[in-house]
Symmetry: C2
Subunit: 476 residues, 2 copies
């Protein structure tokens, strides 16, 4: 109340709208995000249902239209229809526009919410810092810069994010266009496919516009590397892209978030490559017939794509059971926070391990790169992981019971949906409508859930006015 | 150094031994536990290898002897040989003696380590409490009573634990003896089988002495209820049994640990029963042909046995895939701390959820039953879960690659081994020696790992002399 009395009066409808959104975002950023995404899914379900969206001008069944809408808006890349042949030109435009809205939208929303939270918590941190003699507790970095950003400047952030996306997608388009021409695609079609693939790469969606998907390019390392670069940048997240764009020459000044994201992402890439090489080197259906160099490249491609890119150069169901399980884990972890990737996020995993390392070292505080990480971040990370594990567990039990399919296929496609990765063993395309709805809900929970959950929880921190007696249960 | 100068001099070899053990336990309780268990496994492997241990007087192959030794000492109940026909009377005595040493031993060690830790942390808590005006922070309860126990009194604790085990096993023996007679077993054999089953129930081992296992008793609710009671008490853990035995009439005075263990155990039982009923009511191989009452009883039996009892009245591989996955989760959680059950323990799971609830409620402290739980317990719980998840992941990937068996079977038997539950889809009996060794290691890691890890980590808490600047990464 006192706040609004001192706030400048809105002078136009634009200012009114801005302040309304500002208010909603300020009061409940997570509710705002869920509202926006639900509305987007409903609009796209309607649009995909229209006869104009399909090649044969028929009405797409509700479960397929809804699934495609969720898969597009949540940049998942799973499909219950053949994406290359089912949709008309109009339908394909919907797909490309949808993944950009979904990818860039979540990216913006998540960055925004990160800032709201940073600002709120920042206030608390500053209050605490006032009673702290250590001046280095307040430091520079993108996350903290966020604290200074006014919420009315949502538009500015969106523009910055959109420009980053546009630049990266244009670069990828330019890189792959000649390669698509090279396989004999007509110029106009090749241009369209370049734009489509570039959008799918940066937004970590993983749909393919052509029949056969990546098969014509399975040996084209220039093409695959370009896709990888796009997907990799998208999966790092906006705070990291922004930092790299502005200060890639001064790693010392990177924020803890950027260092932690890059380090964990690199560690996961290496673990993924090593696992795929060891587990698949003698599998004749995958890497058995490849040279060492080819096997390493294809392992790297698959390892990058488990972050959430979702492209694959061979049939996922040809992988050994052990590789499928390893992929499940890599997909569940996902990419960076405030990124186009899904999963519980690499920093969440890093926090869990930092907590365990702190315990093992007998330290009372989590530490990384010379910084102390406050304990409430661990509670947030545990909440996100519990949310993810519960979603995957419930969804897997439902899909197992509905489809009676083997666990390796069910777990893979459910985790791929939860982490909006889009790799598939082929099960998704064969599910009955009930299973399609469960998987659509899983994608929605996975994409909106972890981001808004973290934001909602972190934003709701309140001071406690009384303290209960302390007691220690035994664990383990 | 100053400590030993003031300590009374040992006056006999008994005092010297006592003080040596005391010193080892004090310096590194977890190393002591690992030493004791490794020695026990080696001795029992040797004994099981001897021709005298088998019915046909042959040498049991190393991988089978080692696996049986680990399975017995870790009270798991998985087997690579037919337990009812392979072992001689001497071998069977080894099994019953082994599970009692293993079950009661871990129970004692874990209680002991809990006390060592409580005492150490208690000291710190008292130091902190000195600067705290709230007198209710220091309260009564079994864990805190433990703080008063001298480490030289290990023997007293062992006697108390052994008497509890003996009393419970005798009661179960008396309860089931007439039922085993009733199916036509000769008196001597029936007495032996009663003792065997009672030991398997309380120590949560789950081996059967007779060919066919529980099949003759699948409809005998008195017999099955007696087994359930034994397994349930064993799975609660010594601190809870002790509290219930001494003060079951005054629940208000129970410690937080007791309340949390009982509440979470009950919640898991109910969830298990509900899941099995919903998922199996129309499965003709399991509950499809049963009456409602029978289905509820059999669900309850299975739900109790997933805590870690490991007995089953039907073929586990006949369960639906969804029920297998639900069982995986229940087994992974396991039973109470300092119990004969395995898994990450129910209090560990409770702590994770309490952390999430605290986040959701915007509180900075975890709370349960009117008590505040210190934040370092969460780091401990996260460490235990990471240890469990990593063990299960590595073991599953290895077994998948070795056996090329389907994921549902592999995951089930690996989690059953990790959580020393002993339920099996039948895969364990078909593994090649390499797989047998991996599964033996998994049992050892699961049984010794979580207990000693928690103890080692909790005991290594040290004061930090400097503080790093604080920074908040984004998670989720
Ligand atoms: K994707
Ligand atoms: K067991």
């Amino acid at each position: 109340m006192a706040d609004s009395a001192f706030a400048p009066r809105p002078t136009s409808w634009y200012a009114w709208l801005r302040d309304s959104v500002d208010g909603l975002v300020r009061r409940s950023p997570s509710r705002f995000a869920i509202l926006v995404f639900t509305a987007l899914v409903m609009v796209f379900t309607l649009l995909f249902s229209l006869p104009i969206s399909t090649v044969d001008r028929t009405v797409t069944p509700l479960h397929d239209a809804l699934f495609t809408a969720v898969s597009v808006i949540c940049v998942t890349g799973l499909a219950t229809v053949d994406m290359a042949t089912h949709w008309s030109a109009f339908g394909n435009v919907l797909v490309v526009v949808g993944v950009n809205i979904g990818g860039v939208g979540v990216l913006t929303l998540a960055s925004l919410m990160g800032m709201v939270i940073s600002r709120r918590l920042g206030l608390r941190a500053r209050l605490m810092a006032a009673s702290d003699t250590n001046p280095s507790r307040i430091h520079a970095g993108p996350v903290n810069e966020g604290q200074a950003i006014r919420l009315g400047e949502v538009g500015n952030l969106l523009v910055t994010v959109a420009i980053s996306a546009l630049v990266i997608e244009l670069v990828v388009t330019a890189l792959i266009f000649p390669r698509i021409l090279a396989v004999g695609t007509p110029t106009g079609e090749a241009l369209w496919q370049s734009v489509y693939y570039a959008a799918m790469a940066f937004t970590n969606s993983g749909f393919s516009p052509n029949v056969g998907g990546l098969t014509p390019f399975a040996g084209d390392y220039w093409f695959l590397s370009s896709l990888m670069m796009g997907a990799f940048l998208g999966s790092l997240g906006f705070p990291v892209i922004y930092t790299l764009a502005r200060g890639w020459r001064s790693p010392r000044r990177w924020s803890l978030h950027v260092k932690l994201t890059l380090f964990t992402t690199m560690a996961l890439l290496v673990v993924g490559v090593a696992l795929y090489l060891v587990l698949e080197f003698d599998n004749p259906k995958t890497f058995g017939s490849l040279s060492a160099g080819d096997a390493i490249f294809q392992s790297l491609f698959l390892s990058v794509m488990t972050r959430s890119g979702g492209f694959a150069t061979f049939n996922i169901s040809d992988l050994n059971g052990a590789s499928l399980l390893a992929t499940d884990m890599l997909m569940f972890i996902g990419g960076g926070s405030a990124s186009t990737a899904g999963g519980i996020k690499v920093t969440t995993l890093a926090i869990l391990f930092l907590a365990a390392f702190a315990e093992a070292g007998g330290r009372t505080q989590m530490e990384a790169f010379g910084r102390r990480i406050p304990g409430d971040i661990l509670r947030l990370a545990v909440s996100v992981v519990l949310w993810g594990a519960t979603t995957v567990a419930v969804s897997s039990i439902l899909i197992l019971q509905i489809s009676q399919a083997p666990l390796d296929l069910v777990l893979f496609d459910v985790i791929s949906a939860f982490a909006t990765c889009g790799l598939s063993t082929g099960l998704t395309g064969e599910l009955p409508p009930a299973g399609v709805y469960v998987l659509a809900a899983t994608m929605f929970m996975g994409r909106i859930g972890t981001v808004t959950l973290a934001a909602a929880l972190a934003a709701s921190q309140s001071r406690q006015l009384f303290s209960r007696p302390e007691e220690r249960p035994i664990v383990g």
